[in-house]
Structure formats: C-alpha cells, structure tokens
Symmetry: C2
Subunit: 307 residues, 2 copies
C-alpha cells in the first residue's frame, strides 16, 4: 500500500464524571486525511484544507506524532506526505488535535505494515496532544484510535482500556463559536479537592463503567454527573446551565462539557431523542444569539476508518 | 414461616481503590442468626453467643436496624426475637456489625413476607452501621445483602449497584489480633487531596469495575491500587507492607486493608493461590509474633443465606 485515506473522528473527553480518564468516539463528525508513502525520508505536511494550521512538521500535531513513531522504530529511510482536510475546528473541545495526531500515526502504521497495535499508537499520538495543549493526555487520542468508550487507567506506564459501548447510545454536541484553549481551561481548575467530593466522583465513574457493560441507560443517566470540573469550567461557556436544563427536558440521559469546552455534549438513548436534544440546544443559542455548529452521532465503536 | 436461621457473611469494604463505595461478600466467614416471630410486639435480642455485645435493642446494631424497618412499615403489632451467634470479631474490619444488621433486616423481611427488596433493606441496615461507627455507610451492608461485588454510587438517595463477580476470584483475609475502631481509622484521614491523586484513583476504580465485567484478572491486578487511604491507615496495622509484599510474591492479584482494618485482604485467581497467599500472610505474623485469624473464601455472589 502506497497511499491511504482516512476518516479521523472527533471525540468527547472526560464525559462528565471521568475527568482526564474517560473518552468516547464520534461517528459522523471528523476530519479526513490522506497519507502517501514517498521516496524522500521524513514527514511532510503538504496540505491543510479548512483550517489555518502550521504546515511545518515539528509544529504540526500530526507531524510530531509521526516523528515520535518513526523515532521509536529507528526508521530514517521511509518518507510520508500528509494531507489534512479539517472539519473539526481547533479549540472546539471535540478533539481536533487528537483527530490529526491519531489519524496520522494510524495511517503511517498501516503503510508500514502495522508494526504497532492501536494501543501502542496512543503514546505517539499523545506527543501531538502535548504540542497542542502542553499536556500529553490520552483521553481524546485513545477513543479515536480504539473506538467506543475508553478509560485511561494510567498514562505512565500507558494503560488504556476499551469499555463496552451500549448499542443505542447517541451523542449530540453543540459547539458555540467561541474559543476556549485547553491550556486555559486547565489553569482555572483547583489543584486540591475534598475527599468527600472525590468519593462522589469515583462512585459515579464506577457506576458509569458498570452501566456501559450492562447497557443500563437509567444508571448511565444517574452517573453522568460531575461536581468537580463542570462547576468551574462551565463559567467559560455561554448559557451552559440553560443548555443542560433543556437537554434534560428533551430527554437526554445527561450532558456536560465536551473535553475542555466550549462544546457541550449530551448522551441519549436512540437517534430520535438525540435529534430532539439538538433542537433544544439550538433553541437556547438562537435565543442568546450565539452562533453554533451541531453534531449528532452514534457512538463509533471502530474509531478511525479507512475510506 | 415462624422462624428463620441465617448465615450472615463477612464482607470486605473499600477493596483498595474503592474507598467508601466498593465492597465484596465472603462465603465461608460469617455469623449465624436465628430470628423468631413472637406474640409480644417489638424486637428483643435474646442471645448473643461468641462476643460480649449489648442485648438492649436500642444499643444493638441488629436491633436498631429492625426497628428502623418496622417504623417504615408503621408496624407496631409484630414481635421478633433474635439470637446472634458471632464468629466475626467486632473491630476486625470484615463487617462484623454489618453481618448482624444486614442479617437481622433480611430475616425479619423474610418472616414478614418480603415487603422490601434487598436493595431497600440496605437503608435499614445502615442504621446499624451508624450505631456502630457513627457513620451510616453502606459499603459492608450492601455486599452482605446483595452478594458479590457492590458499588455504592450514592447514599442519598441510596443507589447501590451489584457488579459482576469473576468466577475464579478468591479472597484471603488475615486478622491480626489488635483492634482498630472504624471511627478512629476515619479520623486520621485527610479531608482534602490533590486532584492528580484523585484522578489516579478514579482511573483505577473505573478499570477495576471494567475488569470485574470482563473477568480480566490482569487488569484487576493492575487496578487494585490505593494512593489515598492505604498509605495513611496502614500505619495502624503491624507489618502491613511486608504482608503486602509477601502476598504479591505468593501470586495474589493484589492486597489492601479490609474496611478500616486491621484485617488485610488479598484477592487471588483460584483457590490454590488463595491458600498459598494465606501461608505467606501467616509466615509474616508468625515471625513478628502477632496472633491472627485467617480466612480463605470464594466471593459469595448470593450474600446472606437461609440455612
């Protein structure tokens, strides 16, 4: 294989109670990427359509991720050209950088005959996340690479678990057109918390993981709750509480901040409810006068797809 | 039915990373209890064999639990006599008070024709825990009543989930003959913790719950880890670090403090390993010169049993 074309999905990190550990993969929201094996060694980003992002390999998240991978292989002979067709807006909170870095390492791994497992690739893709936000986190690249719901038990050593994905689960995401940088959203968090609050959180995350396996949508709904990060970060998001309230009224199982925001996600049982939730979200921002994008997607259990 | 005889199992609360939310039920370690319907209304503890515990209904954990249940039913006409045959030592950390309070409400519920579900009974049994330790916690009474592994998502409103129990899982428990009061063990905990530490903990609890469903013993092993409570409470337990080390050397998946101690539990895949772990634990305390009891038990997926 000389060339590969990929769908690189958007992802929702944190998923309410799973701050820094949980993530899920979207199905119909994502970038496309073409990766071509060429004779000149090294990595070259030849084209980025849709967003104004750096082409220089060392400054591009896809570039640094692939460089980390080639370095691990001591590969100084192979060369790759990457074209990126961005649909996910940087700073939207649905894993724009992760889609590019995960997609790039996935594609190059395919072209090299799969020297690495998808789990192995997470570590390289995290180099892209480090470039984008200063922190080499895995909670977007993991679901992009593994699909479905993922849990990052540990980043050092890396230990990522793919959880079960309930078959009727849909995500609705609204992206108000304001930018929140992951680095800024991280800075406002408090470094300490009460033990009592932490216990509530790990009760919820344990219950959420259980609900994913038993496909218990009611339990999923009860456990989609975050007392730690959401109350602080939601201040940065226009009309957050109102959107959340209307999601619930429209039948969503729960809602929260997608990644570090400003996108708000809701999970629903069934596509019909997910569409009603989208209408409810839109109505709030129409009233407030904030421009937005909306995505409705089944949870993508496969992750990155070869087109 | 006029009389019921019960096996009231010991339980392990917390289970390393699941402080205040996780618990599991033992199979061969527990008390027995006889409950008899009598003509005189009210609750009378007529006999306690094996331990010196208060017979006065209001001062006995079984008594207050049943009173709470009868109050909820507005039942002022039925009368019950309770005989308790204690095998679990109070203050051992394997749910001595929970066995009595859970057993009592379970038995009375049976004699009344089951007005309540086992999940409902947790709330009444928690009244016994409140009497015993000052805190109405559910992490021992829940596994006693539901069996297997349980997760307390919330105590108010009460929301307890029964998780899956891997079929080859065994617990080994060693009880060094010193007493640690739950109330004391609670007091030494810090009220705040670092967000980073909390994230590690909820990554582990999420992974542990996943491992229970997928019966992934290696993941279970990696996630049986507690950076918050164990480092503090283990100071109260003789030779804790050495016991833990020897459990690992003997092949245990992991080990930790049972409840608030001083008992130490280890989980193993298969009975043979659980027995080796018991020998390893005993060897440590033989050397140190601390008297002990040891229990080896399959995880009891049923909970309280009618004999």
């Amino acid at each position: 294989m000389k060339e590969i074309k990929l769908f690189c999905p958007g992802t929702i990190a944190n998923v309410s109670c799973g701050f820094d550990v949980l993530g899920l993969c979207l199905d119909t929201t994502g970038d496309e990427m073409v990766i071509r094996k060429v004779d000149t060694p090294g990595v070259k980003i030849t084209k980025i359509i849709g967003q104004d992002l750096p082409l220089a390999t060392e400054k591009n998240v896809a570039g640094v991720a692939v460089l980390a991978m080639l370095e691990k292989l001591n590969n100084t002979t192979d060369g790759f050209e990457i074209e990126i067709y961005k649909n996910i807006k940087p700073g939207s909170g649905i894993g724009s950088s992760a889609a590019s870095s995960a997609g790039a390492v996935y594609g190059v791994n395919e072209l090299l005959g799969k020297p690495f497992s998808n789990h192995d690739l997470i570590e390289f893709a995290m180099k892209g996340e480090e470039l984008a936000s200063g922190v080499p986190h895995a909670d977007n690249v993991a679901p992009a690479l593994l699909g479905g719901f993922t849990l990052v038990r540990s980043t050092s050593p890396l230990d990522v678990i793919k959880l079960n994905t309930p078959s009727l689960l849909y995500a609705t995401v609204i992206h108000p057109q304001i930018e929140v940088k992951t680095a800024d959203a991280r800075q406002i968090l408090k470094s300490k918390l009460r033990l009592k609050t932490a216990i509530t959180q790990w009760g919820n995350i344990g219950a959420l993981v259980s609900a994913l396996y038993t496909e218990d949508y009611e339990l999923l709904s009860r456990s989609l709750h975050d007392e730690i990060v959401e109350p602080i970060r939601s201040i940065l998001i226009p009309a957050f509480d109102k959107v959340k309230e209307e999601c619930k009224n429209a039948g969503a199982l729960g809602s929260g901040i997608s990644g570090s925001g400003p996108s708000i996600f809701a999970l629903s049982k069934g596509e019909e409810t997910a569409m009603k939730v989208a209408e409810a979200m839109k109505a709030v921002y129409d009233k407030v006068g904030v421009a937005y994008d909306v995505h409705i997607s089944k949870i993508n259990d496969q992750g990155i797809k070869i087109l």
